[in-house]
Symmetry: C2
Subunit: 277 residues, 2 copies
């Protein structure tokens, strides 16, 4: 018998991949949590049936959600990651010499536990108790509401806007993100696919523009998300992508990210520009 | 009963989309030819089970395979399209004011027929017998072997390198492309996904570098190809993407392509650079 695991991106579209074995399948207070070993991507984390990350291609998402905003800010010292329970985002954040402290607030302790056990390459910084990392299991929305003038960069590494991630795509949340940032701070959020989630992206772009003086979007090719075109949205108080000067910045070894992409990832197809106009 | 149509990108990965109805299913001398009406993408052309193009997102592929090379050349007058039986590539090529003549050589007359009947938006230039277009049903490999010093730009809009497309990914074919081009000509070919077809891309990049002084690659996000990251490879005798100056060129209305992407699409992730090094 062949086992295949299928994620439905929309009611009418799915990505399906053949599974060697299911390594973990459980249920937390918030969602179904599974790790499957796949032929195509190696081990893969699946939450509520949605592909989250996999050994073979996690570098794309994690490098792009971390390095792009951290290099837009000229000197990011204190960083907050909301979500990102697999640990991939903080693994990339702690590599930045300027970063002194990264707080991570993940709502689902089971995701952290399972990632540490089955995805050690991704959860590395959590597993090794990286001294820059302060990991809390808790509610990111509440954490954000309580914070003020505290962070240089905030990374919202959330799952889809249904289930536990829903409250992270609201005007009220973005207002709290603004408040939690220092006067020259910026935030980034994974904001799904410009092909398949147009009403969502239109709404959140409007909300972010309403609050932040600078609103930008960049793209990356993520193989395990059907459609492959994935967008990240930035709200920034001061720094814009076009002004980045990488000449005196740390050089990082990376598999996807590089200096050209720091700007080129912001070159959007016309239909995407239109969407966020 | 729900009908779903699945393309297997690899042995272990598929993209699956729900079908309203099958409008056409036949067999030519070369391949299985089908048009299905899908909920997600509208009408879709499927050859030997592989998704080729669809009403909802064909603009990405066709704009990017045509406009990028045609704007790298400062004055493309005579263009050859090999394959491209749906007519989307020539639809974009004839829009260029500089272009006086575009020859198209498609091996499979059934693809042309079916596209004219079921995909009129895509096959427009063929349907309307555009005066710039000279459409031949025939063998692109033989056509190329016979041509000499004739074309400014050649577009190889082929299907996968199995079946009828196989001979379009060989060193011998690229030598004939070189010969068919004028002394400052260039060609582009769709070259699959840098995630899933690495041995193929490594080999053809080596072959093209062996023959052409300039070898380049650019990317686009194509929703109906699993993985989404699709690459196009250029072999050029004289003009390189970095030297393009669009200031005095025709402005085209487009849904994906734009002036920023003319250069940004060439910014490659590190693992792709490594692949074609």
């Amino acid at each position: 018998m062949q086992l295949w695991c299928t994620e439905n991106e929309t009611e009418y579209l799915g990505l399906t991949t053949r599974v060697k074995e299911t390594l973990f399948a459980g249920k937390s207070e918030f969602q179904d949590v599974a790790v499957v070993d796949t032929y195509q991507f190696g081990r893969m984390l699946v939450l509520d049936g949605v592909f989250q990350t996999s050994i073979a291609e996690e570098f794309v998402y994690h490098e792009m959600i971390a390095h792009i905003p951290l290099f837009i800010h000229p000197n990011p010292k204190k960083v907050l990651v909301i979500g990102g329970g697999d640990g991939g985002a903080v693994r990339e954040v702690v590599r930045h010499d300027t970063v002194e402290k990264v707080e991570m607030v993940e709502i689902d302790g089971l995701v952290v536990e399972v990632s540490k056990k089955y995805l050690p390459q991704i959860s590395k910084a959590m597993l090794e108790n990286n001294p820059k990392l302060d990991l809390k299991i808790g509610d990111g929305i509440g954490h954000m509401a309580a914070a003020e003038n505290e962070y240089d960069v905030i990374i919202v590494d959330c799952s889809d806007p249904i289930g536990p991630g829903e409250g992270l795509f609201t005007h009220a949340f973005y207002q709290n993100v603004y408040k939690a940032l220092k006067p020259d701070g910026l935030f980034v959020q994974q904001t799904e696919s410009p092909f398949y989630h147009q009403p969502l992206i239109r709404r959140l772009s409007k909300d972010i523009k309403d609050i932040f003086p600078i609103h930008e979007m960049y793209l990356a090719h993520i193989p395990i998300y059907p459609g492959g075109m994935h967008c990240f949205t930035i709200g920034s108080k001061k720094y814009a992508s076009k002004d980045v000067d990488l000449s005196n910045r740390q050089k990082l070894e990376t598999k996807y990210y590089n200096e050209e992409l720091q700007k080129a990832a912001f070159a959007l197809p016309n239909f995407v520009k239109e969407l966020i106009k």
